[in-house]
Symmetry: C2
Subunit: 434 residues, 2 copies
Amino acid sequence: MSEGNVGSRLDQWLGSYAARTRGMTASEIRALFAVASRPEVVSLAGGMPNLAALPMDVVGRSLANLVAQNGPVALQYGSGQGDPELRRRILDVMAPNRVSAHPDDIVVTTGSQQALDLVTRIFVDPGDVVLAEAPSYVGALGVFRSYQADVVHVPMDSEGLIPEALSDTLIRLKRAGRKVKLLYTVPNHHNPGGVTLAAHRRPQIVEIARRFGVLILEDDPYGLLGFDGDPLPALHSHDPEGVIYLGSFSKTFAPGFRVGWAVAPHAVREKLVLASESAILCPSSFSQMAVTSYLAEHDWKHQVGLFRELYRERRDAMLQSLSDMLPTSSWTNPQGGFYVWVKVPDGLDTKAMLPRAVTARVAFVPGTAFYADDQGRDHMRLSYCYPSPERIREGVRRLASVIDEELDVQETFGTPGSGQRAGSSVDSPGPDLS
Amino acid sequence: MSEGNVGSRLDQWLGSYAARTRGMTASEIRALFAVASRPEVVSLAGGMPNLAALPMDVVGRSLANLVAQNGPVALQYGSGQGDPELRRRILDVMAPNRVSAHPDDIVVTTGSQQALDLVTRIFVDPGDVVLAEAPSYVGALGVFRSYQADVVHVPMDSEGLIPEALSDTLIRLKRAGRKVKLLYTVPNHHNPGGVTLAAHRRPQIVEIARRFGVLILEDDPYGLLGFDGDPLPALHSHDPEGVIYLGSFSKTFAPGFRVGWAVAPHAVREKLVLASESAILCPSSFSQMAVTSYLAEHDWKHQVGLFRELYRERRDAMLQSLSDMLPTSSWTNPQGGFYVWVKVPDGLDTKAMLPRAVTARVAFVPGTAFYADDQGRDHMRLSYCYPSPERIREGVRRLASVIDEELDVQETFGTPGSGQRAGSSVDSPGPDLS
């Protein structure tokens, strides 16, 4: 914060920025990266996929072949919509989630983050409402803020977004005359919630959105990373004309190529391509062909299975450690993905606690990062994707001692700054995710 | 157009789009790509760099090494600002253009197109004015339009942007109470103008912009591709606090990696990084490290020299062919880059002529694509970067016969639609670029 102020004082262009730029501030996660990347810190903060299981020799050979056989195409500009062969292969990748589409319905993007940006760009005017789960993905909240949307949170429980709460929120907003453009949701292995939208709720959510004329933006980076059974059918499968589905290779292959995609209704897809051409001309031909080669030459489904086992082992270590060492907290029970959402004892403030945690050599993301309002102080996101099971256990041990110390202080001196915190806790009770 | 209308009629989300989306329409260049890519057509339309001179074996080996030695980093998420090692190496690449900076001043982007998008995003509110040369780069005009800027063109002549015209335009806009946010300029080997801003004008342009408090956006993809002598010092070298400089590896290495960059004043750079994180999280680690490896392991300066010779040979073929076969037209005299800007005889309309040209198996871009208003009907852009010298000659031959036929028709029947065309020619005389 103080760094930003210093920059501002010296900024001769301060009077020139667009109104939207005021909403662009460094996220809490971003400030954390520098600290949490020190080797002595156990980071339960980041969402970096664990690439240890990737066969680097296979990838390296495949890229050398790509240049030898297709260099002049791979190194050249490509189509704004994305490589047709990759778009065909993406159909296979989405089949387990029952997203059925034509390659023409797909727009390849620079990671699914760019798809979030493009969808928001073409739909959201300043002051429009975007609905998002409470809590929601920090990167999506940043996009919505940068387009000056008003994010309204809708509560979740252990079965994901609550249909009645969605319906109530939409009625309330309609009465208030607000324009609701999008419902942003991560139905599978939610980030940061660690919950999955129940099968029976999916058609209900789609039906409510349709009734209110609200387009669903279904973000599904973790859909193939469920630990048990087959993936549930995507919201898209219930209403392809009412849902934009976002996928990504960042968690099932590698984020370093920045390849994601959107599946959209025909007319929307045309706008997305135009918006993407304006934003970047075209996605990287090389990255796209690297992914295509990998999908063609490697047993990618087996590889995803290896990732699942790797993350399941870490999820188990995380839940066991929490159960052993954090008796005063509660948490969600993730069946896939990267994250568990932890409720700390009443009166504790995870944002205030973070510097002390980092001093104790463990990092997490405070719950406030995942809300557009002031909710989340009594929650934190722990990620289990990257560290080894031993490191996860050690991290939770350190976290437990930090929480115990906080509780000691609270018991001895009363809740520090209790006025502020109790207020925020009444105003924003937070979702029932325990 | 009719395709768009059909899409609109079927679009259930038509009422949901943001106001800015109305400005997103397919560019004339885009519609051309499908047609011009047929092998029987000589395309003098596209701006694809010619990669024939690239040593594919070197590139392939370098990428295989990259994965073997640095796979887990190259395939992972990276920093939003870009790889520090690449940012260091970019300093060397900019040295001939006298852009001096610190690696911290650089933001790596997904091609310099993304830098155009990000700069416009952080500075431009709807209705703000962006100044651009007349004519200007079609991809930049698309970005400005998508942020609802009003583009005001400033005339060029054979020495580039005219300082007096810039000053007059700024005075006029100031009197009209308009907010001018950016001066967008391509000083070297202009696209599409094919001219270079004279050395003595550079400090004048910078001084005028400073006097009126207008930030300069200096787009320099062709700065190293001059055929004679050293590059002229960039506008940035005259006032680093008043200029954002954009560079790209698309023309000096390969566009397929989508790696470009912006050099910006410190506070602006911070905003650009935040905007980029919102747009794409981070640029591709793999692409950046591929470029870094190439710069480190290959004599890239020698390679740029090979590109220069390849383009010089094609420029010579183009100018000689024009001189031999288009006696009724005039054109600029490019000393580098990819393009020549051709003025056709009075009364001809290059946009109306294009379908007939494609029938005659030659493609170009009509001048209207390079204006935000209705100027340019009597101009066209010919690119000489991609086809062989023989194909260039054949393309100009076909073009000459199309123009001769148009002139015959005009002579026999009078200027077709002369009312409209004479009007547009009086309203928009176009720059003196012959």
